[in-house]
């Protein structure tokens, strides 16, 4: 069995951690753009109802010195922010009629 990535109380989200617990905006954006809507929707559906508990849990740690598993959980929430427009606004992974994301390069992430 693979090692758990997320804190114990959020084991239900662990199956999503490998794909979506990503440290940088560029990685999270690439993951969004290379996923199907079904994959994005499954991740969104799993995390959104848990957000209140997740944020309450994460807020007990100082942002700059989180335990490793909490840090992974924080990255997972940042991916929810990343996919939100795909699910809620565009109904597709990329920005509809949008610019090539690979050309819009993060300098400070």
């Amino acid at each position: 069995m693979s090692e758990r990535l997320l804190p114990e109380s959020f084991q239900d989200l662990d199956p999503f951690a490998t794909a979506w617990s990503l440290a940088t905006e560029r990685e999270r954006n690439r993951q969004r753009l290379s996923s199907t809507m079904e994959e994005i929707q499954a991740f969104y559906n799993a995390l959104l109802p848990r957000m209140e508990a997740v944020v309450a849990y994460l807020n007990q740690f100082p942002l700059d010195s989180m335990p490793a598993d909490a840090q992974q959980l924080l990255y997972l929430t940042l991916s929810l922010a990343e996919v939100a427009p795909a699910v809620e606004l565009f109904k597709q992974p990329s920005v509809a009629d949008g610019y090539d994301a690979a050309r819009f390069v993060p300098a400070h992430e």
Binding site: E25, L48, V55, L58, N59, L78, A84, L89, A96, Y99
Partner: protein, 424 residues
């Protein structure tokens, strides 16, 4: 215009009141030629970018002595080295070695005690002085004291670093910014600049196509119908009319309407609990100086501050963002976009900032496609002019300021008087 005059505009006036305040600007269509003419572009490089004050960064980027930034300015044929000296002062130099003009620093920035040229090892101190020349004895009458880096005039405003490539600028930065600089006094730039997210992209569009797109809100209801369905528009204000505008001799500002009845999406609802969103019905006038949202309109999202020639400072409550448009060619522009936030104190705030920046970025992705699509047909000759409505006043004003700097049509009108046909 006085504050009394602007306050008459009201939130969603349909009375074409903006142009009425500035009758000297007229209401005629404006020419497309400045966006496609290589001759016009050559003049812009000389008469705008070598004369005007240009924003090149923020003080937070170089907090300690020895910290430096490298800013390439292809439109001006140079690169600038901006460095904080041992005395804490920020200085700027042409990033050009005094020996055989090699570009001195090739990276984007960093921290060091001295700058050594890769070519032959000439080395300069933080104050630009030449301190070491390898094999110095083989040179002829080398006057090291006169061979420091070439200084560039620099100054700061509200923590923003500006440079001026004119060897003798006609005005100080304070004079150049004038009243618009005063209106932002007291905005918490230092606090909000703790976190910076930024992107760069090279667009196939004239730099003024970019500027135009971000100094009007008319396009929001159409181009951003998916991404911003009800943030800047509402039943009472379907075309995102601004709540206020003001033109200065060179610069201009506009207050953008915010729909306080905006219905947040589920994820936005979560983010909303932790601040950082532009559309928020709990924004605080107390945190904003009198010059921001000057009419104190409760349906307010943000103020656009367009600082000539290529710098936008768009301020909201809890966040601000900036644009710098750097022309590379008449039809190519390097665009820098930055979103600034206060230091996140908790995971919730960090999440909220991420959501805010992702939406901001995705909205801009919609703009970017349009900018290139516009440029791709601009030289078709199908149209010679842009038709502007009342709420596109800022674009009209920009044309006037450009002409004041560039003098392109003044020259053509002279030719006209001599019997040469002008194409304007």
């Amino acid at each position: 215009m006085t504050a009394v005059a602007t306050s008459r505009i009201g939130a969603t006036s349909n009375g074409k009141t903006w142009h009425a305040q500035y009758p000297e600007l007229g209401t005629e269509p404006v020419p497309i030629e400045p966006y496609i003419s290589p001759e016009y572009f050559a003049l812009e490089r000389e008469r705008i970018f070598r004369k005007a004050w240009l924003n090149v960064g923020r003080e937070e980027e170089i907090p300690k002595p020895g910290d430096y930034l490298v800013k390439d300015l292809p439109a001006c044929g140079t690169s600038i080295l901006i460095v904080r000296g041992k005395d804490g002062r920020i200085r700027a130099f042409h990033n050009v070695c005094s020996h055989r003009s090699n570009k001195l620093m090739w990276n984007r920035g960093g921290s060091c005690q001295m700058f050594a040229c890769k070519f032959h090892g000439w080395t300069y101190g933080l104050e630009g002085q030449l301190i070491f020349v390898p094999d110095e004895e083989s040179f002829f009458d080398l006057k090291k004291g006169e061979l420091g880096l070439t200084p560039v005039t620099t100054d700061t405003w509200e923590g923003f670093i500006f440079i001026n490539l004119d060897p003798q600028p006609k005005e100080s930065l304070k004079e150049y910014l004038g009243e618009i600089g005063e209106t932002l006094k007291g905005y918490p730039f230092a606090e909000y600049s703790a976190t910076c997210y930024s992107w760069t992209t090279e667009l196939r569009a004239n730099w003024k196509i970019l500027k135009d797109a971000f100094q009007e809100a008319y396009h929001v209801a159409f181009l951003h119908k998916r991404s911003l369905p009800d943030s800047f528009t509402s039943k009472s204000n379907p075309f995102a009319h601004g709540t206020d505008c003001k033109l200065y001799p060179r610069h201009r500002k506009m207050s953008v309407y915010g729909n306080m009845e905006h219905r947040p999406t589920p994820v936005e609802e979560v983010a909303f609990q932790f601040g950082s969103l532009i559309i928020r019905n709990d924004f605080s006038m107390d945190r904003l100086p009198a010059g921001v949202n000057p009419t104190r309109n409760p349906s307010w999202a943000l103020d656009l501050n367009v600082i000539f020639p290529n710098f936008f400072v768009d301020v909201s409550d809890g966040t601000y963002f900036t644009y710098n448009m750097w022309p590379l060619a008449v039809d190519r522009t390097l665009w820098e976009v930055r979103a600034y936030y206060p230091k996140a104190q908790s995971a919730g705030q960090r999440f909220s900032q991420e959501y805010s920046k992702v939406i901001f970025r995705d909205v801009i992705m919609e703009d970017c496609s349009t900018l290139e699509q516009t440029q791709s047909v601009l030289a078709s000759g199908a149209k010679t002019h842009f038709v502007l409505q009342d709420q596109e006043l800022l674009i009209r004003h920009d044309h006037k300021v450009h002409e004041e700097f560039v003098g392109f049509y003044k020259k053509q009108n002279k030719k006209n008087k001599k019997g040469v046909t002008a194409n304007v």
